[in-house]
């Protein structure tokens, strides 16, 4: 069975600025600024291609990045954080 589908906030709602290895996201609907490290920006970028569950998201990310260790657990943890920040929501 497929896992929960995640949807990224539309690009127009989130301003992103990279600052020496970290990324700042300004989330306009909440007015909050978030400071994140990889792979959070990459996850948000991959979800911009359309809603995906964790397995599909990993497949998309593997096309561009190498993973070490338990990728799925790490991606799920980052998804939970992005969801809590309002940058990602479940379909």
């Amino acid at each position: 069975m497929a896992g929960a589908l995640y949807i990224a906030e539309p690009a127009a709602a989130v301003s992103a600025v990279a600052l020496d290895g970290l990324t700042l996201f300004f989330h306009a609907p909440s007015g909050m600024t978030h400071i994140v490290a990889a792979p959070a920006p990459e996850i948000l970028g991959a979800l911009r291609d359309g809603p995906a569950d964790a397995a599909e998201l990993i497949r998309r990310l593997r096309a561009h990045f190498d993973f070490e260790g338990d990728a799925e657990a790490a991606i799920r943890a980052r998804l939970d954080e992005l969801e809590a920040a309002g940058l990602v929501r479940r379909a």
Binding site: S15, F26, A28
Partner: protein, 288 residues
């Protein structure tokens, strides 16, 4: 209000009203060379009122009020009425300013390049700015840096410099006595004496400058300099800003623009002369 005074400081006009005459007399003396608001309109109003009506006469204590109020602001004694007026002006700026991104920082300028100094209370930014302002730099402000969100320029806000404790003697040795307000002892921040910026700072209060260096000074350590990464600078400046959150995306764009475009250094310094020497070295490097 029974007594009123209007003062233009950089791009901001204040009206200060008071139930008593003495704080306004002190303020008028300190701000003697400042212009009045050109169109008579004021951005912010500060009111110094008795905490309760009868306390205007008996053991008077000054409550600071205005368009924006902190509910737990503690009343000051009338002897510290000048401090109350200054705190009221700061408070209205900190809570109400929406035109500019406000950084709790001191700013000086030389050759069109502005140096922004920010740090915790006691880091020495007011003293350094005041000293640099007497040694060839233009003092733009000791308390707030105003970042114009449209063009990235810093605008001056040269209010009277608030010198505390040890800094008072440092500046008394440097500056003509006529530019000082009364010494206020026993305030919640210790001894305070206000100092009017010099003629250059006042005559050019309408003239912005391009930020060239962000400095995080720390007093009391052996001299040391280190570069500060942009992410750390951003975090420190959001903490130093009183209105970053309220400004939304405009504030984000302005602050990230500042952080990406301007180098930042942290300096430790054992005494103000060492810091002034370091800062003049940085200026020469920037100009080279």
């Amino acid at each position: 209000m029974r007594h009123q005074l209007a003062i233009q400081i950089g791009p901001v006009a204040f009206r200060i009203g008071s139930a008593w005459r003495s704080p306004l007399d002190a303020l008028a003396g300190l701000y003697a060379d400042y212009p009045e608001p050109a169109d008579g309109l004021c951005d912010f109003t500060v009111r110094l009122e008795p905490e309760k009506f009868w306390r205007r006469f008996i053991r008077p204590s000054v409550a600071i009020r205005g368009d924006y109020i902190l509910p737990d602001a503690v009343p000051l004694s009338l002897a510290h009425g000048l401090l109350a007026a200054e705190m009221g002006m700061n408070l209205q700026m900190a809570l109400g300013q929406k035109r500019y991104l406000l950084l709790h920082a001191a700013t000086v300028e030389k050759d069109g390049r502005a140096l922004v100094m920010t740090g915790e209370s006691g880091a020495g930014k007011s003293t350094l700015a005041a000293l640099l302002g007497e040694r060839g730099w233009r003092l733009m402000g000791d308390e707030f840096a105003l970042l114009d969100m449209d063009n990235g320029l810093l605008l001056p806000f040269p209010r009277a410099v608030s010198l505390k404790n040890g800094a008072i003697a440092v500046m008394e040795a440097e500056v003509d006595a006529a530019r000082f307000g009364p010494r206020l002892d026993g305030t919640p921040k210790g001894a305070i004496r206000h100092m009017r910026p010099n003629g250059d700072a006042l005559s050019r209060m309408g003239e912005g400058a391009r930020p060239a260096l962000i400095l995080f000074p720390r007093f009391g350590e052996a001299a040391a300099v280190r570069a500060v990464g942009q992410a750390e600078v951003f975090i420190r400046l959001t903490q130093a800003s009183t209105n970053y959150v309220a400004l939304g995306r405009r504030g984000f764009d302005a602050l990230t623009g500042l952080v990406r475009g301007v180098p930042a250094l942290a300096i430790d310094y054992p005494d103000t002369d060492t810091a002034v020497g370091l800062i003049d070295d940085f200026r020469r490097e920037l100009a080279a």
